[in-house]
């Protein structure tokens, strides 16, 4: 099993409601603040992208479902700030910061925003692990779930676990989220795009020619025929 966020293929959600390209980027002002606070806190360097994703996934299923998108961000950020001793529960309860912080010198300054956003955070890393597969190879995915941390982070969705597909692209060696989300190191390894036929994933595929393609790490895959 994985967690509540892993919803690919789920039934019951109803229609998608497209919005217009001319609608505001942020529907409400607090959405914009939530995004900006989250990015600004990221620059304090107390966690990485995989930890922050996992923090959202670890919201209780009840919270994850009832919260809107940016409410999830805020709740997960708050949890991370407390777990990393950046804020205290008392400060949250009081609604004000009562002590200075040793991290204040890492504060993202207004004139550094453009450079920080432009720099990004590439996820490719050198690795000693040789690529075992090449485009055209047939592979089978392992069972769902993080293999070393119970309930841990993984990027193998349940719907594509234990399935047979075909490698279509090699992306180089990338940080392994299953490790990096748990402070176990970046553990970079080969990453591939793997195509699955719709009929190999779903009981009632829409069309015999349709495919679903996922980016999957080498340790998610075994050779198959």
């Amino acid at each position: 099993m994985t967690r509540v966020h892993d919803m690919g293929g789920r039934f019951g959600d109803g229609a998608v409601t497209p919005d217009s390209e001319t609608d505001p980027v942020f529907e409400k002002e607090w959405h914009a603040r939530a995004l900006a606070v989250t990015l600004a806190c990221g620059s304090l360097g107390q966690w990485n992208l995989d930890i922050s994703r996992h923090s959202r996934e670890c919201l209780t299923p009840k919270d994850y479902t009832r919260f809107s998108y940016y409410e999830k961000w805020m709740a997960a950020l708050t949890n991370l700030l407390v777990e990393n001793d950046v804020l205290t529960p008392q400060e949250l309860a009081d609604g004000r910061g009562t002590a200075g912080s040793s991290l204040a010198d890492r504060k993202l300054k207004p004139d550094a925003v453009a450079a920080a956003l432009a720099k990004g955070g590439p996820a490719d890393r050198p690795s000693d692990i040789a690529a075992q597969f090449k485009p055209g190879d047939i592979v089978r995915t392992r069972a769902a779930g993080n293999t070393h941390t119970s309930g841990g982070h993984t990027r193998l969705p349940v719907y594509a676990a234990g399935a047979t597909g075909r490698v279509v692209r090699y992306h180089g060696t990338h940080i392994l989220p299953d490790s990096n989300a748990h402070g176990l190191g970046e553990a970079a390894e080969p990453l591939y795009a793997v195509a699955f036929q719709a009929q190999d994933l779903w009981q009632h595929p829409e069309h015999p020619k349709d495919e679903i393609i996922l980016d999957l790490w080498q340790s998610y895959l075994d050779a198959a025929t």
Binding site: L39, K107, L108
Partner: protein, 229 residues
């Protein structure tokens, strides 16, 4: 694999957790009262409270938040991607370069940054229609398309795009010919996908700027086709 526990991890391994309770085995996260429950329930007040506390502690600067918001409201958005697509329609060499190494090719135009560090461009043809989803969260190519729209982040899109893409496309008003196959790209890694839509017919004489006007935000993630003039 080197074992370097974070504070989060250590707290799980100690018998006494930061939450004050004992846990009998290494655990990954709390399945009980989360710190966020200490903030006011109203979301706008939650954000305000967090911003206030962090500002009090010298950890964020409200002017920094304004600069981040200004970037994504006014500087980085889908017109970036539309310019890339229009150029690809006009210039066969550029299109090949884009398909071969999208990251370097769009970087040369100044489009690089957060959530666009590893770009791949997939081209729609009469045989294949590509569309992009992130079933696990909301991964989206920010430098080219900006912040994802609400529908892209919705449970309905995340859940259904992989299982019934044609029904989802119909909800966007798109009906594909039966002979066209659909390839749905689920963004499970840090690779970000941009769809290169097909150039509409009747656009032979148009300028690059006029072509860019036909390229909708949704056509570059695969839930629409480019507009016809």
């Amino acid at each position: 694999m080197q074992f370097m526990p974070t504070k989060q991890e250590r707290s799980g391994l100690d018998s006494k957790c930061v939450c004050g309770q004992d846990h009998f085995m290494p655990h990954d996260h709390h399945d009980h009262d989360d710190p966020h429950a200490l903030l006011p329930p109203d979301p706008a007040l939650r954000v305000k409270a967090l911003e206030t506390i962090l500002t009090d502690k010298g950890l964020i600067d409200p002017a920094t938040l304004d600069a981040i918001i200004d970037t994504y409201e006014n500087k980085i958005g889908p017109r970036n991607g539309a310019r890339v697509v229009a150029k690809a329609w006009m210039d066969a060499d550029f299109r090949e370069s884009l398909k071969r190494d999208a990251t370097a090719t769009v970087s040369d135009l100044g489009y690089y940054g957060r959530q666009g560090e590893h770009m791949v461009v997939v081209e729609n043809t009469p045989d294949t229609h590509n569309m992009v989803v992130c079933t696990l969260c909301s991964c989206y190519p920010w430098p080219l398309l900006g912040i994802p729209p609400g529908w892209y982040k919705s449970d309905a899109y995340r859940a259904r795009a992989v299982r019934e893409p044609r029904k989802v496309l119909a909800e966007f008003g798109v009906k594909l010919p039966a002979e066209t196959s659909v390839r749905v790209w689920d963004s499970t890694a840090e690779v970000r996908y941009l769809v290169l839509p097909m150039r509409p017919s009747g656009t032979e004489g148009l300028s690059e700027d006029a072509l860019a006007d036909l390229v909708t935000r949704n056509s570059m993630i695969g839930t629409e086709l480019a507009k016809t003039p």
